[in-house]
Amino acid sequence: MNKPGIDWHARAIQVAFLAGVIALWYLVGATGKINTVFLPELPRVIEKFGQIVQTSRLYENLRVTLTELVAAFAIASTLGLTVGYFVGRSRYAALVFEPLLAGLFAIPLIVFLPLFILFFGIGMESKIAFGASYAFFPIALNTIGGISQVDPRFVTVARSMGANDAQLFRRVLLPAALPVIVTGLRMGCIIAFLSILGSEMIAGLRGLGSRVAALAEGMNTAEMFAYIVFVILLAALLNTMLTKMQRRFSEAGQAP
């Protein structure tokens, strides 16, 4: 397999695109024709960003959001992988539950957020529960897909050589399904991050999302934008980590 080399040409276009967006932001601000409450000037946001990274408030909010993310992702992965494995093993269970889970996943769960607040309170617990509930679906669905789509010939071969259930799982089902499962984990992590920030913004006292919402309400747009830039950087970091993880798992001899 070819090592996925870096296409410098494509990379240059991507960087140019981002630079263009930033330049446009700067130029629009420089004309002075846009109300800075709607779009603060870029130098002002940079200045604010420099200030907030020196405050403990940012790190306290970051800690809250990351704790929620880690907890939600851990719960969603444990439940999603377990449910996915048992449903995926049985053709009939997959037939029954796969469409059911896919249907539930299609419901915008955000409408149930008030219930989560009611059950788990306004603190971190409701964000964890909500993020875990949402992230559970892509993880479970991909695990079902991965396990149930393992080529039955591989199972037959393993059985003919005397593989027991544990060996079959560890040596055949898991490696065969891993690329699909890892994709599910990646989607689950991103969805957990998204729903945690969303629920913090709607009803939260702490965390990056609630901070952004509070700044917006206070018309403090420059600082809000600084927080948004921080969230974007965090999301980019998360995405890079997930991509690295996914590449590692799909590179282990999994090419067609």
């Binding site: 397999m1 010939r153 003919s160 050589m161 005397g162 040596r171």
Partner: protein, 282 residues
Amino acid sequence: MGAIDINNVSHFYARPDGGTVETLNNVSLEVRKGELLCLIGPSGCGKTTLLNIIGGLVQQVTGEVRVNGKPINGRPSPRDIAFVFQDNTLFPWNTVLDNIKVALEFQGVPQSERQGRAEEAIEAVGLKDFGKNYPHQLSGGMKQRASLARALALRTDVLLMDEPFAALDEQTRMYLGEELSILLATTNKTIVLVTHSLSEAVFLSDRVVVMTARPATIKATIEVPEKHPRDPAFMASPRFAEHRNELYAQLRAEIEKTVGGFVGNAAARDRQRRAVAGQAAP
């Protein structure tokens, strides 16, 4: 007692519409120790089903199968029997060497012996330098050799091969056939091989068993008394052509049943026409 004893084995399965399909009808066969026996017959006749019953992957409905005297009843017997399947069934996530080591793990070989036996097996099939390659990095012929190495590493008395060369081009399969003949002469394994190829059957077999169209019964058994390893020159010999023709003569009527052909009918019509016209047969 042979290496494999098959007594009155029948098999059928239920169709989704409620009917049943009879695949094997009362098949009895003894495979001698150390011989290579080919099963040949029209497509879909039940050769593979018979092979899978011998290997314990499918359970017969009635009858008895014994391998090395041990009854086989729809449960694999990995200590006695190894398989080589038609398509490449190596695990794509393992290297060639790891594929063989995993097979040994499944069979219950202690970990300390696995590396050595796996290396020995890939050397036996000439893949010594490809142990660290993944299956997708190998050609079709090399993949099948790696599959063969995996089966050999299990050191079973019996090797069951289900059209192992079917997915390969003709020259590759001829070459692998020669290799198999050499291996056969040195390992003294009992091999049952399912094939579609008349030449392959004659070139490799000690005996060829011709099966009828479904439900399969044994129509004829043709002996090929020729020492292993067999030379490619054997293929050009009149003896080879004779065996091959005999095999085709036995098979033709069965193939006609499956494809609904007209060759036999045309010949019959021709005979009839000549009889009416008072002509002697040519």
